[in-house]
Amino acid sequence: MSGVTLEDVRRVAELANLELTAEEEPRMQRDLNAILGHIAELNELDTTGVPAMAQVGEMLGGLAHDHGEGMRQDEVRASLDRSAVMAAAPETDGRFFKVPKVIER
């Protein structure tokens, strides 16, 4: 794995919907390389055949499945009041969230 370039930083920022300033880009490049250098230590370990663990419950096997793994009943329940939710929106017509135009021409 070679180092992160400025081009990589810009590409990842675009993927993450972040707009970095010209000053931020080199700083992020430096920091990412420092952190990834530390993360590279993981390559010292042979993990062939080790399952990838996404959740704690997976490792508890039967313990997790005996407890709390069932889905709840699918039933109609009260939810948040629409007007209370919309009151927190930056722009709304009271029913929907309003956003700037989506299609650029």
Binding site: M1, V4, D8, V9, V12, A13, L15, A16, N17, L18, E19, L20, T21, E24, R27, M28, D31, L32, A34, I35, L36, H38, I39, A40, E41, L42, N43, E44, L45, T47, V50, P51, A52, M53, A54, Q55, V56, G57, M59, L60, L63, H67, G68, R72, L80, D81, A84, V85, A87, A88, A89, P90, E91, F97, V99, P100, K101, V102, E104
Partner: protein, 482 residues
């Protein structure tokens, strides 16, 4: 009652409110007065509270006092002043998560943990400062200014729940709620000289928590004593239909378990937690604690957690990957900040996130996005998940032989404000003893176990298997008695 608010415990406050010796209203006023005197820039400038919920607190205090006057049944937290980390929602109160992107947002609902505390009689004073989106180890990443350590005002309180730890240490609240993703309850508890509990993953509902890394995030209490921590945890724990990851395992009687003797309990000591970089004064304090546990009848023996050195790199891949996904919801559409000058949707997203997020949050989003992006997923994310399994197996194997594992909570005592802000890797290493328990999903607690020569608090960490909180707290109580 004691002469100083620093002496107040949950038990003491509840008993005094029940007997009429004091009132919940008087308790709330006393704590608000201390906050007014010392938390702001005209006092000690501790900066632990970001907002106060006075109206809600006083209404609750009056309800508790009315119930006490009638001689009715009082909840386990009746009249107890409590603060809430600002990543948990309280209906109608600001919820900033320490970020500009949520400035002005007032969520329309309560977090389950918040609701449970209030139902138990707690008086909710307000919201507490933290690192932005709980990302940090010093509370210096808050958009609303750093928190000072009440035990040493030129030092950090730890993070990310720095405000929660500082408020208990400063006497602004009797107990507080924090959250812990990689150490964010236990590390600040150690730095501020209070008790901080990381409950087992799934033990406490996260509904109403502003998510950072969902496979790691947990909600837990800060208190002055282990008994108070047990009381808080008993209130907080349990299944919640609004959090599918919450466990339906019955909740143990944590308070009752504290009275059981610790004789014969097997205490594991991992050599990997006593290596290079551990402050000699902390090492000595932990060794004294272990000697004390031996005298109390515990069987102290070595255990091995061989993958410990890989915990930090593993954590920073997994936590940032999950954060990059979780934080995509902050886009200027539904709540919080929206950059006004953008005239297309995609520009609005980017400008809002650029203006709203601080440097550490951007750094972690970029790292997480990088680790998940095409060509790097297997090398970073999948690899880290595999090492997470190895780290978890370490603990499961060790807990075959011992009931709890005891070691240092932090490699150093609280460091100076500004000391590590320029070097993210050095800052991350402050969590070297906390992240493994986070990745494995087990429970842990930091208990004060002495001070350095300079008077800085030292914390000892006690870890126990999944859902082993009762035994863990029992050992914590034994440490407290040493």
């Amino acid at each position: 009652m004691g002469v100083s608010a620093l002496d107040f415990t949950i038990d003491g406050v509840r008993a005094a409110v029940a007997s009429g010796e004091t009132s919940a209203v008087a308790m709330a006023e006393l704590h608000y007065a201390r906050i007014a005197a010392d938390d702001g820039a005209n006092g000690k400038g501790i900066n632990s509270f970001l907002s106060l919920s006075r109206e809600r607190a006083m209404a609750q205090a009056e309800r508790v006092d009315a119930a006490a006057a009638k001689g009715g049944l009082l909840g386990p937290l009746a009249g107890v002043p409590v603060g809430i980390k600002d990543v948990l929602t309280m209906k109608g109160s600001p919820a900033t998560a320490g970020s500009l992107i949520l400035k002005g947002y007032r969520p329309p609902y309560d977090a389950t943990a918040v609701q449970k505390l209030e139902a138990a009689g707690a008086v909710l004073l307000g919201k507490l400062n933290c690192d932005e989106f709980a990302m940090g180890s010093s509370n210096e990443n808050s958009a609303y200014g750093p928190v000072k350590n009440p035990k040493a005002l030129d030092r950090v309180p730890g993070g990310s729940s720095g405000g929660s730890a500082a408020a208990v240490a400063a006497g602004f609240a009797v107990a507080t709620l924090g959250t812990d993703t990689g150490g964010s309850i236990r590390q600040p508890a150690a730095f501020c000289g209070v008790v901080g509990v990381l409950p087992t993953y799934g033990r406490v509902s996260r509904y109403g928590l502003i998510a950072f890394a969902s496979s790691l995030d947990r909600v837990g209490p800060f208190t002055r004593t282990i008994k108070d921590a047990a009381t808080m945890l008993e209130v907080l724990a349990g299944q919640d239909g609004l959090d599918e990851t919450s466990s339906d395992r019955p909740v143990d009687g944590y308070v009752a378990a504290l009275d059981k003797p610790v004789e014969g309990l097997r205490v594991g000591v991992p050599a990997e937690y006593f290596g290079e970089g551990l402050d000699p004064e902390i090492r000595a304090a932990i060794e004294r604690t272990l000697d004390g546990l031996k005298l109390a009848g515990c069987v102290v023996k070595p255990v091995s957690l061989p993958h410990t050195k890989y915990a930090i790199p593993t954590y920073y891949v997994i936590a940032t990957a999950e954060a990059s996904s979780n934080l995509s919801r902050f886009d200027g559409v539904r709540f919080g900040l929206r950059a006004e000058e953008a005239n297309t949707l995609s520009a609005m997203y980017r400008k809002t996130r650029d203006a709203g997020f601080g440097a550490e949050v951007k750094r972690r989003i970029l790292l997480g996005t990088y680790a998940l992006s095409a060509g790097y997923y297997d090398a970073y994310y999948r690899k880290a998940q595999q090492v997470r399994a190895l780290l978890t197996r370490d603990f499961l194997a060790a807990f075959h032989d011992v009931d709890v594992i005891v070691g240092p909570m932090t490699p150093t005592p609280a460091f100076k404000l500004g000391e590590k802000t320029e070097d993210p890797v050095e800052m991350y290493l402050a969590d070297i003893y906390s992240v493994a328990a986070s990745l494995a999903g087990i429970c842990g607690v930091s208990v004060p176990c002495g001070e350095t020569e300079d008077g800085l608090p030292i914390g000892v960490q006690i870890m126990a298997p999944h859902f082993g909180e009762a035994t863990m707290l029992r050992v914590g109580a034994a440490v407290e008695r040493l």
